[in-house]
């Protein structure tokens, strides 16, 4: 299907076309799922939240204004699902522990997995607001204004969270990179 996101949304709005919505899900599932994994650090839970986010998006599709970024709009919904799922996240920390225990032998991981682990470890060192702002910015491609809207914080604060978080992540990634080189 070559239609743009907005054209698909119009089809869903007009006829409730589930095929068109399915195409939107296929296009954006990787973004939503991988970004929620960065926030939750729990892939199965991230998938559950992503499903809920898409269903919520279908219910609220009338609220989407054609012309703005569908991905960012969806990101706002996914972030709200994440906030609602925080209680579940707290009770499923065991997954994080199992992930951390497996970090010692990184030779078993594929390149993509080790990139994901490096990224998650780097994000882990950020304050919650910084991590959320960085993930929303890079994961969903949200602008500072959009992040400010979903996180309900002033734009200036969001900018500083993103910049500080970015610097910290860069620093950590450099550390990982140089420690691997030394090995």
């Amino acid at each position: 299907m070559d239609a743009s996101d907005d054209e698909l949304v119009v089809m869903v709005k007009q006829t409730g076309n589930r095929d068109a919505f399915g195409e939107l899900v296929r296009r954006h599932q990787a973004t939503v799922r991988s970004t929620l994994v960065r926030l939750t650090k729990d892939p199965p839970l991230a998938d559950d939240l992503a499903q809920d986010a898409f269903i919520r998006a279908y219910d609220r599709i009338e609220q989407y204004k054609v012309g703005r970024s569908f991905r960012s709009w969806l990101g706002g919904i996914a972030y709200n699902e994440y906030l609602q799922g925080l209680r579940r996240i707290r009770t499923s920390r065991r997954h994080l522990e199992s992930l951390a225990s497996g970090l010692d032998d990184s030779s078993e991981f594929t390149n993509v997995e080790s990139v994901a682990i490096d990224l998650d470890r780097a994000l882990e060192n950020l304050r919650v607001e910084e991590r959320t702002a960085v993930v929303l910015s890079y994961g969903f491609g949200m602008s500072h204004a959009e992040i400010s809207s979903v996180m309900k914080a002033p734009v200036g604060t969001v900018k500083s969270w993103v910049n500080r978080g970015k610097d910290k992540v860069r620093g950590r990634l450099e550390d990982y990179s140089s420690s691997r080189t030394n090995e």
């Binding site: 589930r18 919505f21 399915g22 899900v25 296929r26 599932q29 990787a30 973004t31 799922r33 991988s34 970004t35 960065r38 998938d47 992503a50 499903q51 898409f54 269903i55 279908y58 594929t110 390149n111 993509v112 990139v115 994901a116 490096d118 990224l119 960085v134 890079y138 994961g139 970015k166 992540v169 860069r170 990634l173 450099e174 990982y176 990179s177 691997r180």
Partner: protein, 132 residues
């Protein structure tokens, strides 16, 4: 650049080059991790959940409408409260046979329609859950 295998195809991905040589290394990492997230039936699951939810919603709406109509009709025909009648049937002080012999046609029709609605609703719900 490093070669890696993703979704069955070998592809080249950015290596861990020094940060100052990259425009935005973090964005590349995010994109890279995202590119490795394959669908694996995720979108089908979302669509089937949507379809199931819509079907259940439709069944519930139809049931609610039918029950509303039945209650309205029962009020019109001044039939005794349904709950009282059902309780009497349950404790054995009233039987369907009495109903048949008593000649209470409106009540008989009411129970007949009620049985049809309940059985039909049950069948529809079972079919919906099976197909979901």
């Amino acid at each position: 650049m490093v070669k890696t295998k993703s979704e069955g195809d070998w592809k080249t991905i950015p290596a861990r080059a020094p940060m100052n040589e990259e425009t935005d290394h973090i964005q590349q990492l995010f994109d890279h991790v995202k590119a490795d997230t394959s669908d694996e039936g995720f979108s089908e699951q979302v669509i089937s959940r949507l379809a199931l939810r819509q079907r259940i919603r439709r069944v519930v709406l139809v049931c609610a409408a039918l029950m509303g109509i039945l209650l309205f009709v029962s009020q019109l025909l001044r039939i005794e409260p349904l709950v009282v009648r059902l309780a009497e049937i349950a404790d054995g002080s009233f039987s369907i046979l009495e109903l048949l012999g008593g000649g209470n046609v409106p009540l008989l029709v009411f129970f007949f329609v009620l049985v049809i609605v309940i059985s039909n609703t049950t069948m529809t719900m079972v079919q919906t859950l099976r197909s979901g």
